[in-house]
Protein backbone atom coordinates (compact mmCIF):
# COMPACT_ATOMS: atom_id res chain seq x y z
CA UNK A 1 0.00 0.00 0.00
CA UNK A 2 1.43 3.32 -1.09
CA UNK A 3 1.80 5.84 1.71
CA UNK A 4 3.39 9.08 0.53
CA UNK A 5 4.15 12.51 2.00
CA UNK A 6 4.59 15.49 -0.31
CA UNK A 7 6.07 18.59 1.29
CA UNK A 8 5.81 22.31 0.58
CA UNK A 9 2.57 22.56 -1.41
CA UNK A 10 -0.94 23.72 -0.56
CA UNK A 11 -4.26 24.45 -2.21
CA UNK A 12 -4.63 28.20 -2.87
CA UNK A 13 -8.17 28.09 -4.23
CA UNK A 14 -10.86 26.03 -5.95
CA UNK A 15 -13.46 27.01 -8.56
CA UNK A 16 -16.21 24.64 -9.67
CA UNK A 17 -18.36 25.11 -12.75
CA UNK A 18 -21.70 23.29 -13.13
CA UNK A 19 -24.14 23.45 -16.05
CA UNK A 20 -27.09 25.82 -15.47
CA UNK A 21 -29.61 23.15 -16.48
CA UNK A 22 -31.18 21.40 -13.46
CA UNK A 23 -32.87 17.97 -13.55
CA UNK A 24 -35.03 16.78 -10.66
CA UNK A 25 -35.10 13.06 -9.83
CA UNK A 26 -38.64 13.38 -8.49
CA UNK A 27 -39.78 14.00 -12.07
CA UNK A 28 -37.37 11.56 -13.77
CA UNK A 29 -39.66 9.84 -16.32
CA UNK A 30 -38.40 6.28 -15.77
CA UNK A 31 -39.27 6.25 -12.06
CA UNK A 32 -42.73 5.67 -10.64
CA UNK A 33 -43.68 8.30 -8.06
CA UNK A 34 -42.94 5.89 -5.22
CA UNK A 35 -39.70 4.75 -6.80
CA UNK A 36 -38.50 8.33 -7.14
CA UNK A 37 -39.11 9.10 -3.46
CA UNK A 38 -37.32 5.91 -2.44
CA UNK A 39 -34.41 6.65 -4.74
CA UNK A 40 -33.91 10.19 -3.41
CA UNK A 41 -34.10 8.94 0.17
CA UNK A 42 -31.59 6.12 -0.35
CA UNK A 43 -29.08 7.78 -2.67
CA UNK A 44 -29.47 11.31 -1.31
CA UNK A 45 -29.56 12.66 -4.86
CA UNK A 46 -32.46 15.00 -5.65
CA UNK A 47 -31.12 17.42 -8.26
CA UNK A 48 -28.48 17.08 -10.94
CA UNK A 49 -26.83 19.60 -13.23
CA UNK A 50 -26.60 18.32 -16.79
CA UNK A 51 -24.96 19.84 -19.83
CA UNK A 52 -26.92 20.99 -22.84
CA UNK A 53 -25.85 19.82 -26.29
CA UNK A 54 -22.41 20.99 -27.34
CA UNK A 55 -20.98 21.51 -23.86
CA UNK A 56 -18.35 19.09 -22.57
CA UNK A 57 -16.08 18.73 -19.56
CA UNK A 58 -13.32 20.97 -20.91
CA UNK A 59 -15.81 23.85 -21.36
CA UNK A 60 -16.61 23.61 -17.64
CA UNK A 61 -12.86 23.38 -16.90
CA UNK A 62 -12.22 26.51 -18.94
CA UNK A 63 -14.76 28.65 -17.05
CA UNK A 64 -13.56 27.33 -13.67
CA UNK A 65 -9.85 27.77 -14.42
CA UNK A 66 -10.25 31.25 -15.94
CA UNK A 67 -12.14 32.44 -12.88
CA UNK A 68 -9.68 30.88 -10.46
CA UNK A 69 -6.54 32.28 -12.09
CA UNK A 70 -8.11 35.73 -12.39
CA UNK A 71 -9.44 35.89 -8.83
CA UNK A 72 -6.18 34.68 -7.31
CA UNK A 73 -4.45 37.32 -9.37
CA UNK A 74 -1.99 34.81 -10.73
CA UNK A 75 0.28 35.78 -13.60
CA UNK A 76 -0.38 33.15 -16.27
CA UNK A 77 3.32 33.00 -17.08
CA UNK A 78 4.01 31.72 -13.56
CA UNK A 79 1.90 28.58 -14.06
CA UNK A 80 4.24 25.69 -14.87
CA UNK A 81 1.94 22.68 -14.94
CA UNK A 82 -1.65 21.87 -15.97
CA UNK A 83 -3.15 18.42 -15.34
CA UNK A 84 -6.70 17.37 -16.23
CA UNK A 85 -8.32 14.40 -14.51
CA UNK A 86 -11.37 13.11 -16.35
CA UNK A 87 -12.88 10.19 -18.22
CA UNK A 88 -14.82 12.38 -20.63
CA UNK A 89 -12.11 14.17 -22.56
CA UNK A 90 -12.59 16.03 -25.85
CA UNK A 91 -10.80 13.38 -27.92
CA UNK A 92 -8.94 10.07 -27.58
CA UNK A 93 -6.13 12.23 -28.85
CA UNK A 94 -4.81 14.89 -28.53
CA UNK A 95 -4.89 15.41 -24.78
CA UNK A 96 -7.43 17.94 -23.55
CA UNK A 97 -4.96 19.63 -21.16
CA UNK A 98 -2.92 20.68 -24.20
CA UNK A 99 -5.95 22.22 -25.91
CA UNK A 100 -6.70 24.04 -22.67
CA UNK A 101 -3.17 25.47 -22.49
CA UNK A 102 -4.05 27.41 -25.61
CA UNK A 103 -7.61 28.32 -24.62
CA UNK A 104 -6.45 29.55 -21.21
CA UNK A 105 -3.59 31.51 -22.83
CA UNK A 106 -1.04 29.78 -20.63
CA UNK A 107 2.65 29.70 -21.41
CA UNK A 108 3.88 27.30 -24.09
CA UNK A 109 6.64 26.15 -21.77
CA UNK A 110 4.11 24.54 -19.45
CA UNK A 111 3.90 20.77 -18.74
CA UNK A 112 0.36 19.65 -19.63
CA UNK A 113 -1.20 16.18 -19.81
CA UNK A 114 -4.33 14.18 -18.98
CA UNK A 115 -5.00 11.55 -16.34
CA UNK A 116 -7.77 9.00 -16.88
CA UNK A 117 -9.36 8.41 -13.48
CA UNK A 118 -12.85 8.85 -12.05
CA UNK A 119 -14.07 8.93 -8.47
CA UNK A 120 -10.59 8.51 -6.96
CA UNK A 121 -9.10 10.96 -9.47
CA UNK A 122 -9.07 14.18 -7.47
CA UNK A 123 -6.92 12.77 -4.69
CA UNK A 124 -4.66 11.02 -7.24
CA UNK A 125 -4.48 14.33 -9.09
CA UNK A 126 -3.35 16.16 -5.96
CA UNK A 127 -0.69 13.49 -5.42
CA UNK A 128 0.53 13.67 -9.03
CA UNK A 129 0.64 17.45 -9.35
CA UNK A 130 2.28 18.14 -5.98
CA UNK A 131 4.84 15.36 -6.49
CA UNK A 132 5.80 16.64 -9.92
CA UNK A 133 5.92 20.25 -8.74
CA UNK A 134 8.15 19.17 -5.88
CA UNK A 135 10.78 17.43 -8.05
CA UNK A 136 10.54 20.13 -10.74
CA UNK A 137 10.81 23.13 -8.44
CA UNK A 138 7.53 24.54 -9.75
CA UNK A 139 5.71 27.17 -7.70
CA UNK A 140 2.25 27.30 -9.28
CA UNK A 141 0.11 24.64 -10.94
CA UNK A 142 -3.50 23.99 -11.93
CA UNK A 143 -5.34 20.69 -11.39
CA UNK A 144 -8.60 20.22 -13.29
CA UNK A 145 -11.03 17.44 -12.34
CA UNK A 146 -14.49 16.59 -13.56
CA UNK A 147 -16.78 14.73 -15.93
CA UNK A 148 -19.95 15.04 -17.96
CA UNK A 149 -21.41 11.68 -16.92
CA UNK A 150 -24.85 12.68 -18.23
CA UNK A 151 -23.44 12.11 -21.72
CA UNK A 152 -22.05 8.61 -21.08
CA UNK A 153 -25.06 7.34 -19.12
CA UNK A 154 -28.17 6.49 -21.10
CA UNK A 155 -31.06 8.76 -20.04
CA UNK A 156 -33.33 5.68 -20.20
CA UNK A 157 -31.18 3.73 -17.70
CA UNK A 158 -32.56 4.32 -14.21
CA UNK A 159 -29.70 2.30 -12.71
CA UNK A 160 -27.14 4.98 -13.66
CA UNK A 161 -28.55 8.19 -15.11
CA UNK A 162 -30.31 9.59 -11.99
CA UNK A 163 -27.15 9.24 -9.88
CA UNK A 164 -24.71 11.41 -11.80
CA UNK A 165 -24.32 15.13 -12.25
CA UNK A 166 -21.91 17.07 -14.46
CA UNK A 167 -19.20 19.36 -13.12
CA UNK A 168 -15.73 20.67 -13.94
CA UNK A 169 -13.42 22.00 -11.23
CA UNK A 170 -10.11 23.84 -11.10
CA UNK A 171 -7.75 23.72 -8.12
CA UNK A 172 -4.80 26.10 -7.74
CA UNK A 173 -1.72 24.52 -6.16
CA UNK A 174 0.98 26.81 -4.79
CA UNK A 175 4.38 26.47 -3.14
CA UNK A 176 3.95 26.75 0.62
CA UNK A 177 7.06 26.03 2.59
CA UNK A 178 6.63 23.58 5.44
CA UNK A 179 3.15 22.47 4.43
CA UNK A 180 2.60 18.72 3.98
CA UNK A 181 0.08 16.51 2.21
CA UNK A 182 -0.21 12.86 3.29
CA UNK A 183 -1.50 10.25 0.86
CA UNK A 184 -2.65 6.64 0.88
CA UNK A 185 -3.24 5.21 -2.61
CA UNK A 186 -4.25 1.90 -4.14
CA UNK A 187 -6.24 0.04 -6.77
CA UNK A 188 -7.74 -3.35 -7.66
CA UNK A 189 -7.94 -3.99 -11.39
CA UNK A 190 -9.77 -7.24 -10.70
CA UNK A 191 -12.89 -5.09 -10.47
CA UNK A 192 -12.34 -3.30 -13.78
CA UNK A 193 -15.76 -4.29 -15.09
CA UNK A 194 -17.79 -3.07 -12.10
CA UNK A 195 -18.04 0.38 -13.73
CA UNK A 196 -17.30 0.37 -17.42
CA UNK A 197 -18.20 1.75 -20.84
CA UNK A 198 -17.69 -1.50 -22.80
CA UNK A 199 -17.12 -0.10 -26.30
CA UNK A 200 -15.09 2.97 -25.46
CA UNK A 201 -11.50 2.31 -26.43
CA UNK A 202 -9.30 -0.02 -28.39
CA UNK A 203 -10.15 -3.34 -26.65
CA UNK A 204 -13.66 -3.12 -28.09
CA UNK A 205 -13.58 -0.60 -30.88
CA UNK A 206 -16.89 1.20 -31.48
CA UNK A 207 -18.80 -0.57 -34.24
CA UNK A 208 -22.34 -0.57 -35.56
CA UNK A 209 -23.61 -2.91 -32.84
CA UNK A 210 -22.19 -0.62 -30.13
CA UNK A 211 -25.19 1.66 -30.65
CA UNK A 212 -27.89 -1.02 -30.33
CA UNK A 213 -30.13 -0.32 -27.35
CA UNK A 214 -30.44 -3.34 -25.07
CA UNK A 215 -33.08 -3.86 -22.41
CA UNK A 216 -31.97 -5.02 -18.95
CA UNK A 217 -35.32 -4.85 -17.18
CA UNK A 218 -37.96 -2.17 -16.78
CA UNK A 219 -36.49 1.33 -17.06
CA UNK A 220 -33.01 0.04 -17.84
CA UNK A 221 -32.00 0.55 -21.46
CA UNK A 222 -28.51 1.24 -22.64
CA UNK A 223 -26.06 0.47 -25.42
CA UNK A 224 -22.39 -0.53 -25.31
CA UNK A 225 -21.25 3.09 -25.61
CA UNK A 226 -23.08 3.87 -22.35
CA UNK A 227 -21.81 3.57 -18.81
CA UNK A 228 -22.63 0.34 -16.98
CA UNK A 229 -22.52 0.27 -13.18
CA UNK A 230 -22.81 -2.86 -11.05
CA UNK A 231 -24.44 -1.15 -8.08
CA UNK A 232 -24.11 -4.05 -5.63
CA UNK A 233 -20.47 -4.68 -6.51
CA UNK A 234 -19.55 -1.01 -6.16
CA UNK A 235 -21.45 -0.69 -2.90
CA UNK A 236 -19.73 -3.73 -1.46
CA UNK A 237 -16.36 -2.36 -2.59
CA UNK A 238 -17.01 1.16 -1.28
CA UNK A 239 -18.10 0.21 2.23
CA UNK A 240 -15.08 -2.05 2.65
CA UNK A 241 -12.30 -0.12 0.86
CA UNK A 242 -13.07 3.51 1.74
CA UNK A 243 -12.85 2.89 5.52
CA UNK A 244 -9.71 0.82 4.92
CA UNK A 245 -7.80 3.55 3.06
CA UNK A 246 -8.78 6.22 5.60
CA UNK A 247 -7.79 3.98 8.50
CA UNK A 248 -4.46 3.16 6.87
CA UNK A 249 -3.81 6.84 6.25
CA UNK A 250 -4.57 7.70 9.86
CA UNK A 251 -2.56 4.81 11.27
CA UNK A 252 0.48 5.15 9.03
CA UNK A 253 0.87 8.85 9.66
CA UNK A 254 -0.37 8.71 13.28
CA UNK A 255 -3.12 11.22 12.58
CA UNK A 256 -5.24 12.30 15.50
CA UNK A 257 -9.01 12.37 15.01
CA UNK A 258 -9.15 15.70 16.87
CA UNK A 259 -6.87 17.25 14.27
CA UNK A 260 -9.31 16.43 11.47
CA UNK A 261 -11.90 19.19 11.10
CA UNK A 262 -13.62 17.85 7.98
CA UNK A 263 -14.01 14.70 5.96
CA UNK A 264 -14.81 15.12 2.30
CA UNK A 265 -15.66 11.76 0.77
CA UNK A 266 -16.32 11.14 -2.87
CA UNK A 267 -20.08 11.68 -3.19
CA UNK A 268 -21.02 8.14 -4.24
CA UNK A 269 -24.48 7.91 -2.73
CA UNK A 270 -25.86 8.68 0.70
CA UNK A 271 -26.47 5.09 1.74
CA UNK A 272 -22.90 4.10 0.95
CA UNK A 273 -21.32 7.20 2.48
CA UNK A 274 -23.32 6.80 5.71
CA UNK A 275 -22.11 3.21 6.12
CA UNK A 276 -18.53 4.38 5.52
CA UNK A 277 -18.86 7.13 8.15
CA UNK A 278 -20.36 4.70 10.62
CA UNK A 279 -17.56 2.18 10.13
CA UNK A 280 -14.99 4.92 10.65
CA UNK A 281 -16.92 6.17 13.71
CA UNK A 282 -16.84 9.70 12.32
CA UNK A 283 -18.95 12.44 13.84
CA UNK A 284 -21.50 12.92 10.98
CA UNK A 285 -21.22 16.70 11.36
CA UNK A 286 -17.64 16.51 10.18
CA UNK A 287 -18.59 14.91 6.88
CA UNK A 288 -19.52 17.30 4.08
CA UNK A 289 -22.07 16.65 1.32
CA UNK A 290 -23.10 18.05 -2.05
CA UNK A 291 -25.13 15.00 -3.14
CA UNK A 292 -28.62 16.44 -2.77
CA UNK A 293 -28.15 19.31 -5.19
CA UNK A 294 -25.47 17.97 -7.53
CA UNK A 295 -25.46 14.14 -7.40
CA UNK A 296 -22.36 12.03 -7.91
CA UNK A 297 -20.03 14.26 -9.93
CA UNK A 298 -17.19 11.74 -10.38
CA UNK A 299 -13.73 13.28 -9.85
CA UNK A 300 -15.32 16.71 -9.28
CA UNK A 301 -17.20 15.58 -6.18
CA UNK A 302 -14.54 16.41 -3.57
CA UNK A 303 -13.58 19.90 -4.87
CA UNK A 304 -17.26 20.73 -5.60
CA UNK A 305 -18.24 19.73 -2.06
CA UNK A 306 -15.42 21.92 -0.69
CA UNK A 307 -16.64 24.88 -2.74
CA UNK A 308 -20.28 24.45 -1.76
CA UNK A 309 -19.80 23.59 1.91
CA UNK A 310 -16.60 25.33 2.97
CA UNK A 311 -17.14 28.71 1.34
CA UNK A 312 -18.90 30.19 4.36
CA UNK A 313 -16.71 28.41 6.88
CA UNK A 314 -13.58 29.89 5.30
CA UNK A 315 -14.49 33.28 6.72
CA UNK A 316 -13.98 31.89 10.22
CA UNK A 317 -10.34 32.09 9.23
CA UNK A 318 -9.57 28.84 10.95
CA UNK A 319 -6.65 26.67 10.01
CA UNK A 320 -8.74 23.71 8.89
CA UNK A 321 -7.37 20.23 8.34
CA UNK A 322 -9.30 17.85 6.14
CA UNK A 323 -9.30 14.25 5.00
CA UNK A 324 -10.28 13.72 1.37
CA UNK A 325 -11.20 10.22 0.21
CA UNK A 326 -12.05 9.08 -3.32
CA UNK A 327 -13.07 5.55 -4.37
CA UNK A 328 -14.73 3.96 -7.37
CA UNK A 329 -14.19 3.16 -11.04
CA UNK A 330 -11.04 1.14 -11.68
CA UNK A 331 -11.46 -0.05 -9.03
CA UNK A 332 -9.30 2.64 -7.49
CA UNK A 333 -9.04 4.54 -4.21
CA UNK A 334 -7.03 7.31 -2.61
CA UNK A 335 -7.20 9.32 0.57
CA UNK A 336 -5.21 12.28 1.83
CA UNK A 337 -4.81 14.50 4.85
CA UNK A 338 -4.04 18.14 4.25
CA UNK A 339 -4.26 21.61 5.71
CA UNK A 340 -6.66 24.08 4.07
CA UNK A 341 -5.24 27.16 5.77
CA UNK A 342 -3.87 28.61 2.55
CA UNK A 343 -7.18 28.43 0.67
CA UNK A 344 -8.02 32.03 -0.21
CA UNK A 345 -10.77 31.56 -2.76
CA UNK A 346 -13.68 29.17 -3.32
CA UNK A 347 -16.28 29.79 -5.98
CA UNK A 348 -19.20 28.07 -7.69
CA UNK A 349 -19.96 29.09 -11.28
CA UNK A 350 -22.62 28.18 -13.84
CA UNK A 351 -22.33 27.73 -17.58
Amino acid sequence: MANVVVSNFSIAGISACVPAQIEDNLTYPFFSEQEAVKFVEATGVRFRRTVTKGIVTSDLFLVAADDLIQQLNWDKNDIDILISVSQTFDYDLPATSIILQNKLHLSKSIAAFDVSLGCSGYVYGLYIITSLMSVSNFKKGILLAGDVSSICCNAEDKSTYPLFGDCGTATAICFDEGSKMYFNLGCDGGGYNAIIIPDSGYRNRVNVSSFELQEFGEGIRRSRINLFLDGMEVFSFGISQAPKTVNELKEHFSLNENDIDFYVFHQANLKMNKVIEKKLKINPEKSLYSLYNYGNTSSASIPLTCVVELKNKLHDNKNFNAVFCGFGVGLSWASCFLNLGRVRYLNLLEL
Binding site: G231, M232, E233, F235, S236, I239, K271, K278
Partner: protein, 79 residues
Protein backbone atom coordinates in the same frame (compact mmCIF):
# COMPACT_ATOMS: atom_id res chain seq x y z
CA UNK B 1 -17.99 -10.24 14.92
CA UNK B 2 -21.21 -12.15 15.43
CA UNK B 3 -21.34 -15.88 14.72
CA UNK B 4 -23.74 -16.91 11.97
CA UNK B 5 -26.99 -18.54 13.06
CA UNK B 6 -29.70 -19.38 10.55
CA UNK B 7 -32.64 -18.34 12.75
CA UNK B 8 -31.03 -15.03 13.58
CA UNK B 9 -30.05 -14.44 9.99
CA UNK B 10 -33.67 -14.92 8.89
CA UNK B 11 -34.68 -12.27 11.44
CA UNK B 12 -31.90 -9.99 10.17
CA UNK B 13 -33.13 -10.50 6.67
CA UNK B 14 -36.72 -9.68 7.63
CA UNK B 15 -35.55 -6.46 9.28
CA UNK B 16 -34.48 -5.11 5.89
CA UNK B 17 -38.10 -4.73 4.80
CA UNK B 18 -40.53 -2.00 5.85
CA UNK B 19 -43.72 -3.83 5.08
CA UNK B 20 -43.17 -7.55 4.92
CA UNK B 21 -46.34 -9.39 3.85
CA UNK B 22 -45.05 -12.96 4.18
CA UNK B 23 -43.47 -15.07 6.89
CA UNK B 24 -39.85 -15.72 5.92
CA UNK B 25 -38.43 -19.22 6.17
CA UNK B 26 -35.16 -20.72 5.01
CA UNK B 27 -36.83 -21.86 1.79
CA UNK B 28 -38.28 -18.43 0.89
CA UNK B 29 -37.21 -17.23 -2.53
CA UNK B 30 -36.30 -13.71 -1.41
CA UNK B 31 -36.22 -12.33 -4.93
CA UNK B 32 -39.98 -12.89 -5.12
CA UNK B 33 -40.67 -10.69 -2.09
CA UNK B 34 -42.57 -7.68 -3.41
CA UNK B 35 -40.35 -5.13 -1.69
CA UNK B 36 -37.08 -6.76 -2.76
CA UNK B 37 -35.11 -4.48 -5.07
CA UNK B 38 -31.57 -3.29 -5.63
CA UNK B 39 -31.79 -0.83 -2.71
CA UNK B 40 -32.79 -3.60 -0.27
CA UNK B 41 -29.86 -5.59 -1.68
CA UNK B 42 -27.54 -2.73 -0.69
CA UNK B 43 -28.98 -2.79 2.83
CA UNK B 44 -28.31 -6.54 2.95
CA UNK B 45 -24.68 -6.02 1.91
CA UNK B 46 -24.30 -3.34 4.59
CA UNK B 47 -25.91 -5.49 7.29
CA UNK B 48 -23.79 -8.55 6.57
CA UNK B 49 -20.66 -6.38 6.49
CA UNK B 50 -21.44 -4.65 9.78
CA UNK B 51 -22.73 -7.61 11.77
CA UNK B 52 -20.67 -10.52 10.44
CA UNK B 53 -17.70 -8.82 8.79
CA UNK B 54 -18.40 -10.62 5.53
CA UNK B 55 -18.07 -8.89 2.17
CA UNK B 56 -21.01 -10.01 0.07
CA UNK B 57 -20.55 -9.38 -3.66
CA UNK B 58 -23.17 -8.66 -6.29
CA UNK B 59 -22.40 -12.01 -7.88
CA UNK B 60 -23.04 -13.81 -4.56
CA UNK B 61 -26.54 -12.37 -4.38
CA UNK B 62 -27.27 -13.02 -8.04
CA UNK B 63 -26.19 -16.68 -7.79
CA UNK B 64 -28.68 -17.69 -5.08
CA UNK B 65 -32.47 -17.66 -4.73
CA UNK B 66 -33.45 -18.88 -1.24
CA UNK B 67 -32.51 -17.50 2.15
CA UNK B 68 -30.87 -20.85 3.01
CA UNK B 69 -28.65 -20.62 -0.06
CA UNK B 70 -27.72 -17.09 0.88
CA UNK B 71 -26.92 -18.25 4.41
CA UNK B 72 -24.73 -21.05 3.04
CA UNK B 73 -23.00 -18.54 0.79
CA UNK B 74 -22.20 -16.44 3.86
CA UNK B 75 -20.92 -19.51 5.74
CA UNK B 76 -18.58 -20.32 2.86
CA UNK B 77 -17.19 -16.78 2.94
CA UNK B 78 -16.77 -16.52 6.67
CA UNK B 79 -13.18 -17.70 6.79
Amino acid sequence: MKKLDLGEFINDFASLFNDLQVQLTESTNFKEIEEWDSLVALSLIALVDEKYGIRLLGEDIRSVTTILELYQKLLSKQY
